[in-house]
């Protein structure tokens, strides 16, 4: 029991590591709670990034030096901020929240508590924790590095050796701190990530929409993700981390923070988190950055914006692939078949299978409600295209991937609901993008 407490408490090093960055004046527009949530996400990226780099360099992991390295990096990242960037004040609108506004915050809080209750009662645990994430993390913790001998073992290639390392790195970090992997504690990363998202999202969305709408859209997002997490048993899996990174990155990109150096730097770190958390984080990041640069080109210096958004992820993934290549283990992601070897005749069954698994949890309401919010929203701006098209491209990517299997029915049963679970957040964010709402920080 004690090891489990230490395991989960050690993840407090994530916000600690990123606080030197989030304490910068550029981020004081966000509330303390919002910055805490953002620091949790950014700190996990910095910690994991250093773990990968040290593994590449052949240097053993030690918890305190790792936190110190991540915190020093966070401090150094303050310097690329544009000197002229105004240290914007916190939200000027200090009028007390109305009852309906308090109600949406309360609903989001209850959604997090429900996720905690489901997880703590062992009702939301992912089998992949036992078969995939956990064994790798505990071997990495014992080896105090990415265990090349484990990844090289042909009997263990079911562990998806090339899978990006963020989740296993963080679990290994906590396991080193606790002395062993806390299986139950690892499941609590689901409500933990949801809580970090619930803290950060309302504040980040305020830079894109009026306060009441930002808070309400956040509540819908948190409720949908919490519901899907319980239904699809994601506790201990990579999805909660992916939700945290992708949702916050997209919320930053559609807000007025997206046009600032500080906003882009933070979004770049979060996109790096998505890229290094799960394979599908890479198409999300590439599509998001490409569309962002096109849609907001008039507000940006394209080169520097692209660098801030893509360099952290490129560095993280590059270090991981360099590790695989230098140890002769992998030279890129595992293939799910030849790129153009597609079973088009399976399109109908694949779409039917996906529809079945999206319908099962609550009659597809977690997707239909944000979609309806987007369709019903008035005065939609061009910015709404960013999350909407990214969601559509991701959906197409998943279908395209499933079409590589001659019979993907089992694959869809096992993963279909989870991979589509990021879409509700993107649709809810898109529904907030309206003409005339571009600048809300000072409201």
């Amino acid at each position: 029991m004690r090891a489990g407490f230490v395991w989960i408490l050690s993840l407090a090093c994530c916000p600690l590591a990123a606080w030197p960055l989030l304490a910068h004046a550029s981020y004081r527009r966000f509330s303390l709670g919002c910055r805490l949530g953002l620091a949790t996400a950014a700190g996990s990226v910095l910690l994991s990034g250093w773990m990968t780099l040290l593994a590449l360099a052949g240097i053993s992991w030690r918890t305190i030096p790792l936190v110190a390295l991540a915190a020093a990096t966070a401090f150094l990242l303050r310097f690329p901020m544009e000197p002229g960037e105004p240290s914007r004040p916190g939200p000027a609108r200090r009028d007390p929240a109305s009852f309906p506004e308090k109600l949406v915050l309360a609903i989001a809080a209850v959604a997090v508590l429900v996720a905690l209750a489901a997880t703590a009662s062992a009702a939301a645990t992912s089998p992949d924790l036992l078969l995939f994430w956990g064994p790798k993390a505990q071997a990495f913790a014992v080896a105090r590095t990415v265990d090349a001998s484990l990844l090289r073992d042909p009997l263990l290639n079911y562990l998806h050796v090339s899978y990006p390392p963020l989740v296993t790195n963080l679990y290994a970090f906590a396991s080193i701190a606790a002395g062993r992997l806390g299986w139950g504690a690892a499941t609590l990363t689901f409500p933990l990530c949801l809580a970090a998202l619930a803290l950060a999202l309302p504040g980040v969305l305020r830079s894109a929409a009026p306060r009441r709408l930002a808070w309400a859209a956040s509540a819908l997002t948190i409720s949908a993700l919490g519901f899907l997490g319980n239904e699809f048993d994601v506790a201990g899996n990579g999805e909660p981390w992916l939700w945290l990174f992708e949702t916050l990155a997209m919320a930053l990109l559609v807000g007025d923070t997206g046009t600032t150096a500080s906003g882009q730097l933070l979004a770049g770190l979060l996109l790096a988190g998505a890229i290094c958390a799960k394979v599908e984080g890479l198409p999300f990041a590439l599509a998001s950055v490409a569309l962002f640069l096109v849609i907001r080109r008039k507000d940006l210096r394209i080169g520097s914006a692209a660098a801030r958004l893509l360099l952290p992820g490129g560095l993280g993934l590059g270090a991981w692939f360099a590790f695989g290549a230098t140890r002769h283990i992998f030279y890129g992601y595992e293939q799910y078949g030849r790129l153009l070897d597609i079973h088009w005749e399976r399109l109908g069954p694949v779409l039917a299978g996906i529809g079945k698994y999206l319908w099962r949890p609550g009659w597809a309401l977690p997707w239909l409600l944000p979609l309806a919010a987007l369709i019903l929203a008035t005065r939609k701006s061009r910015l709404a295209l960013l999350p909407t098209v990214v969601a559509a491209l991701l959906a197409a990517f998943f279908v395209f991937t499933y079409l590589h299997s001659p019979d993907a029915s089992l694959w869809i049963e096992w993963s279909g609901g989870r991979v589509f679970s990021t879409l509700p957040a993107l649709l809810a964010i898109a529904s907030l993008c309206r003409e005339g709402d571009e600048t809300f920080t000072a409201r």
Partner: protein, 145 residues
């Protein structure tokens, strides 16, 4: 005064969030089970996996670090033993876990193991000395080691 579209959008979000949260609450395990600490992380999400988790967790207490161990099932089934090997890799860290089956194909590597974790009923012929028995299976020390 808020524009009308703002209010309708706000209440749509609010009602949507409330509905999803209400359904999530309804699908939680019953209150007594919520208040009772689970014995494994899989008690409600995968009860079959929970029984195996308990067996391997108890096996970890009797199979010493560094020993070789294989997990098989009775009656023998290479498909199930492929999965059992993966669970043993996760739950018996520090031991040399041998695969009785890989990708649903028997390997016979279990014959080289110091310890056997047998899921299901005890085998007809004893593979060694019984050192642990649970409702889910048993753990044996091979007599010829």
């Amino acid at each position: 005064m808020k524009p009308r579209s703002d209010s309708s959008q706000f209440f749509f979000f609010l009602v949507g969030a409330a509905v999803l949260t209400a359904i999530a609450i309804k699908r939680l395990p019953p209150l007594p089970e919520l208040l009772h600490a689970p014995s494994t992380p899989f008690d409600h999400s995968a009860p079959a996996a929970a029984a195996l988790y308990r067996l391997f967790a108890e096996a970890a207490a009797v199979v010493p670090a560094g020993a070789s161990v294989a997990s098989i099932c009775e009656p023998r089934d290479p498909v199930r033993e492929t999965l059992l090997h993966r669970e043993a890799i996760a739950l018996l860290p520090g031991r040399k876990v041998l695969a009785a089956a890989v990708w649903n194909t028997p390997t016979r590597s279990e014959e080289k193991a110091d310890y056997l974790v047998i899921v299901g009923p005890k085998p007809a012929s004893s593979p060694g000395r019984l050192i642990l028995e649970t409702p889910a299976g048993s753990v044996w020390r091979r007599s010829d080691r």
